[in-house]
Amino acid sequence: MEFLTTHGAALFFYLFAVLALVSAVMVVSLRNPMYAAFSLLVTFLSMAALFVLRHAEFLAVVQVFVYGGGIMVLFLFVIMLVNLHRLREITKFVDHAPMAVMLALLLVALIGYVFLSVAFGPALVSPAEFVSVEGEVVGNSQAIAWQLYREFLLPFEIASVFLLVAMIGAVVLGRET
């Protein structure tokens, strides 16, 4: 029990990291898009858990709502809309797949070497920073809302216009002609 309270965060990090990685590899390698969609859901949910471990509680909830809810329903709806039986005949990978995988492994080796040779030092974090508004301790979502509606008001409005444009675009593209 003492081990759990001292090293619990690390254990959860490794658990969810492995879960996210394995299901991400399954997304890329499974033939049936339906199975791939559900492993994508597992990846999104374990990433939400990883967000919580880094004191991003509001983003974890948004992740579950937007990715686990909205985007996943969109994907499942489209998978059901298109005819799955036709997909069985096609070959899964493109012809140059081995070369692409090899180049990706090379990239992993290169960037991984860089990551392992840098040291950031201890994190500057005091969790109170994430939950305080003008020195007063509130909550993560309130602190984000405070910043979002004050310092980032213009990008926020642009994002809402962007979402409107995307919605109209999707309706126009999906329309029967």
């Binding site: 965060a9 690390a10 990291a17 990685l21 991400a24 997304v27 890329v28 898009p33 791939a36 969609a37 990433m47 990883l50 967000f51 471990l53 880094r54 004191h55 991003a56 983003l59 948004v62 992740q63 990715y67 909205g70 985007i71 969109l74 994907f75 489209v78 809309l81 298109v82 036709r86 096609i90 070959t91 899964k92 990978f93 493109v94 140059h96 692409a100 995988v101 990706a104 990239l107 992993v108 991984g112 990551f115 950031f120 994190a123 500057l124 974090v125 920073e129 994430f130 984000i144 979002l148 994002a159 962007f162 979402l163 444009v165 995307a166 919605m167 675009g169 999707a170 309706v171 002609t177």
Partner: protein, 102 residues
């Protein structure tokens, strides 16, 4: 080993990014390619949040909110294109969409 640092998050986010990148490069099925793009965008969010924690600055989390908004719009438009392609060619294979004028 048991202390989780920013580097742990960077390595995990980079591995997820590479997995998504490989998916974009090697798969023929457009649905899976769109899913891989979501994976890439989500791994970037992980990076933002790790650095937001490292620097004790909320701006990283704000930026991740915008990334999620862009990912949602991208999924909607991408799947709209997929449905349009399926209407035209009755397939979701990307090789079938090689012509500019169909």
């Amino acid at each position: 080993m048991l202390e989780i640092t920013t580097v742990h998050y960077l390595v995990l986010s980079f591995l997820l990014f590479t997995t998504g990148l490989v998916g974009i490069l090697i798969r023929r099925n457009m649905i899976i390619v769109l899913m891989s793009i979501e994976l890439v965008l989500n791994s970037v969010n992980l990076n933002f949040i790790a650095f937001s924690y490292q620097l004790s600055d909320l701006t990283g989390q704000i930026f991740a909110v915008f990334t999620i908004a862009v990912a949602a719009g991208e999924a909607a438009v991408g799947l709209g294109i997929l449905v349009a392609l399926y209407r035209l060619r009755h397939t979701t294979e990307l090789d079938q969409a090689a012509e500019l004028k169909g």
